[in-house]
Symmetry: none
Subunit: 225 residues, 2 copies
DNA sequence: CATGTCGCTGAGAGGGCGCTGAGAGCCGTT
DNA sequence: AACGGCTCTCAGCGCCCTCTCAGCGACATG
């Protein structure tokens, strides 16, 4: 069982890491939200232990970003008793369980096992918009039954649009979710990648799935064009 | 915090009522849609828990009626897992959140708190005026079920009018809110854009939603013309 | 009916936004 | 070292949106 632990307090992290290893888990530890986000997006874990108070990107944001990106790994949050965020917030954000610091190590292991057994929150199996389908698990995109090959960036953009299909999303929103929360380049990249998607998705099929909402952003047609 | 619960299963209703009371809510329970509609219209609540399957008037209709009457209290819907209405429907109808039965009581409390915190009565999910609807999140405008495409300026103007529907708003007020507080051009722009809206919203449908109040300003008919 | 005011309308200039093609930088592969 | 794929930048272009303006019509006064 693979566990990702996102925790900035080095001593605590090391103690827990050892304990979990002894309990049979394969543990990876990162020390800030940014690394946590990256690791959780890039690799596959059975469960994530996420501290709320983190440098750079806080646990709050990490979880939000993960769900946005379609990462449905169960998350157990660590909250400080007197912290600015309380238990309610952890659940609000879609955390699957939480523990208040200081916590018993035995309880942590028990909760992790429970989370793994129970599985993640209900995740959408495939995203659909008209004759356009995207399977996050297999990372496959099809239009009208024919597979379309996308680069990672193109895929990320399309997945984001499909998770918000029908909504108008601004270029800045897209940049923050598909590129990087700290991206500060030219929003024109989005236009360029929208074009790439259109060339691959729309042009060969004579239909337009991605609409431009001038002055606002883009919108994926729920009916697939 | 005042909660109205519309739920016909007596035992479930009683259990939840007790729990919410313990959690510090003031709870009122009614057992059918008709009573729910009446209570929600007559009294003021911070949030409404609304079952979909109800005797007499179903939750579906109750919500529709409430929004029609201008009651924008946040609503959390309870849906049966295998019911004829699914999650999509709940959101489509303007529900602010939903839970599938059976649900965790802790999650219910968390969601209610989240709703109360984030959604005030002044921020409806969808703006409605007769057969005219505007969805700020999706940036979508419909009249009589048909989508109408608006430019950013037109959209901003219509949103302002809809948020003040029934009120007469002066051109200066409009300029300050929709254009720029420091705008110093000719108020005639407003007339021009009112015209654009009428061409797109009224002309094709043979009805007049936006009235001119000579010497005063404009007024959006609450009944949509 | 005459007059002035207010709102409506059609046309048009200007600018901003999004689209596009080309290419540079980077990385992994051969 | 050479190549190809991916990402991102850049600058030019075209169109749509925005706003102005002037003439006209409608409505409230005397």
């Amino acid at each position: 069982m693979r566990v990702l632990m996102v925790e900035d307090e080095e001593r605590l992290a090391e103690t827990v890491r050892r304990g979990l290893s002894d309990a049979g888990f394969v543990v990876e530890v990162v020390h800030n939200g940014e690394d946590g986000l990256w690791a959780a997006s890039e690799h596959s874990y059975d469960v994530i232990v996420l501290d709320i108070m983190l440098p750079r990107v806080n646990g709050y944001k990490v979880l939000e970003q993960l769900r946005e990106r379609g990462v449905w790994t169960p998350v157990l949050m660590l909250t400080a008793k007197d912290g600015e965020y309380d238990q309610t917030d952890a659940f609000d954000l879609g955390a699957d369980d939480y523990l208040t610091k200081p916590f018993s190590f035995l309880v942590l292991v028990a909760r992790l096992r429970a989370l793994i057994r129970r599985g993640g929150p209900e995740r959408p199996v495939v995203l659909v918009a008209g004759d356009l389908t995207l399977d996050p698990a297999r990372r496959r995109v099809e239009r009208a039954g024919r597979e379309v090959t996308l680069t990672p960036r193109e895929y990320g953009l399309l997945e984001f649009l499909m998770r918000h299909r029908g909504d108008t999303v601004s270029k800045v929103e897209i940049l923050e979710s598909v590129w990087d929360p700290a991206f500060d380049g030219d929003p024109n990249v989005v236009e360029v990648y929208i074009r790439y998607l259109r060339l691959k998705l729309d042009a060969p099929f004579g239909r337009r799935a991605i609409e431009t909402v001038r002055g606002m952003g883009y919108r994926l047609d729920p009916d697939g064009g």
